[in-house]
């Protein structure tokens, strides 16, 4: 075992259960614990919302890229090096002044891992999964987002293998910023649709 945080002999039941499973599978030669370390490092440090933020920043800066992203999101996102697990079949959905987009998976927790990384707990939990489709405006209020009553809300329930990335609207006062500076403005929640991108003026 590679863990190093035991303080005494008491283990949380899940801690004990997962350790046992890892031990059994290692003894049988079915897993290599070193691969687990690499997987954890990948999703801690390499694959996360910083990837999606690059996509959004490029779409904000480059009209041709934005068009490509609209028409073939999988290829446009792959061109930036973001591919694979839970991002095999991507769709990018663009917020407009008339329509706000929000993504959910009511059936389980489908989420575009290749661009957003591991989903937050709330995204995977029953309150969001049930309420997002029924009363998204109320849900948005809980995230501190108040939409004008005349803005339409479109909720995308990820019931198959298509994965959705929301492209938020670029803040009005973000003209002339570099792609790096723009990417720094883009939040995870804005790419799920439970946030908007603001910028201190």
């Amino acid at each position: 075992m590679t863990h190093s945080h035991d303080h005494d002999n008491e283990l949380d039941p899940m801690d004990a259960r997962v350790r046992a499973l890892e031990t059994i599978l290692s003894q049988k030669g079915l897993i290599d614990p070193g691969a687990i370390d690499v997987i954890v490092d990948t999703y801690q440090n390499k694959i996360g919302p910083q990837n999606g933020a690059r996509v959004v920043a490029k779409a904000w800066s480059d009209d041709a890229y934005a068009t490509w992203l609209k028409e073939d999101a999988t290829a446009a996102i792959s061109s930036l090096g973001f591919t694979g697990r839970q991002g095999e079949h991507m769709r990018a959905v663009f917020n407009t002044p008339q329509t706000h987009n929000m993504v959910v998976c009511t059936l389980c927790s489908c989420y575009p891992w290749s661009v957003l990384g591991l989903p937050p707990v709330w995204y995977k939990s029953p309150p969001y999964r049930s309420r997002a489709v029924i009363d998204p405006r109320d849900v948005l209020e809980e995230f501190g987002v108040t939409l004008s009553k005349d803005i339409n809300i479109r909720v995308w329930d990820s019931t198959a293998e298509l994965r959705y990335l929301v492209v938020p609207m670029r803040p009005d006062n973000a003209q002339g910023l570099s792609e790096d500076a723009l990417a720094a403005l883009v939040t995870r929640d804005s790419m799920i649709g439970t946030g908007i991108v603001g910028m201190a003026s």
Binding site: M14, L21, I24, A35, G48, S130, I153
Partner: protein
């Protein structure tokens, strides 16, 4: 609606305990053995007793489902799990995922779009009804959409059919459509008049409207 506030955590860490890290990793490593597919995996999670499912965190659900899959596919026995150590040699001869191959496996993912064998039955703009059917096994029709009429927005391609694939009945890929439903039609009087909800539905989930 019963489930209460969303309660989003500020600056949430990716993992809330070190066992969650191992749970993610062990689940992906076992998936890489290639003994089951994502649909069987999803079905094993949703097949937990409802009281257990709703009382379990995400990674708890993953681990409970993984144990079921490992037993079903002869990777471990109940005796192994009860004792916490391997009681016998593996009955499965599969090389483990190696650290040096993790990046390639993640980058490859598991594409599930397939070549079309038949023309699509519906086209964008077509009105369709989500069928009111209740398969006893795995399915991806959300209950709230059943019986409702929507409009096809995108003919998305031909995709592996989860209802069959989850149960070892083959991929049987079908056309997949994104169907847009009207919020007030779904949720009734008093609901948000600006709301529309889309689902991604396989062809056999739909009928002409």
């Amino acid at each position: 609606m019963g489930f209460g506030p969303i309660a989003a955590e500020q600056d949430e860490p990716y993992f809330h305990a070190s066992w969650e890290e191992r749970a993610l990793g062990v689940t992906l490593c076992c998936g890489a053995l290639g003994l089951w597919n994502i649909d069987e995996s999803r079905h094993s999670r949703e097949n937990l007793h409802p009281a257990d499912y709703y009382a379990s965190s995400y990674y708890e659900i993953w681990i409970k489902a993984l144990e079921t899959l490992l037993i079903r596919h002869d990777c471990v026995t109940l005796d192994d799990l009860k004792s916490g150590i391997s009681q016998s040699a593996s009955r499965i001869e599969k090389p483990p995922l190696k650290p040096e191959n993790v990046a390639a496996v993640i980058a490859a993912g598991g594409p599930c779009e397939r070549a079309a064998q038949t023309p699509a039955r519906y086209e964008a703009g077509t009105k369709v009804r989500v069928r009111n059917i209740h398969p006893s096994g795995h399915t991806r029709i959300p209950g709230y959409a059943k019986g409702h009429i929507g409009v096809v927005e995108e003919v998305a391609g031909v995709f592996v059919f989860p209802d069959d694939n989850a149960h070892g009945k083959g991929e049987n890929a079908q056309w997949l459509y994104r169907v847009v439903l009207n919020g007030q039609d779904l949720w009734g009087a008093g609901s948000d008049p600006t709301l529309s909800v889309s689902i991604d539905a396989w062809e056999s989930y739909l009928e002409p409207a």
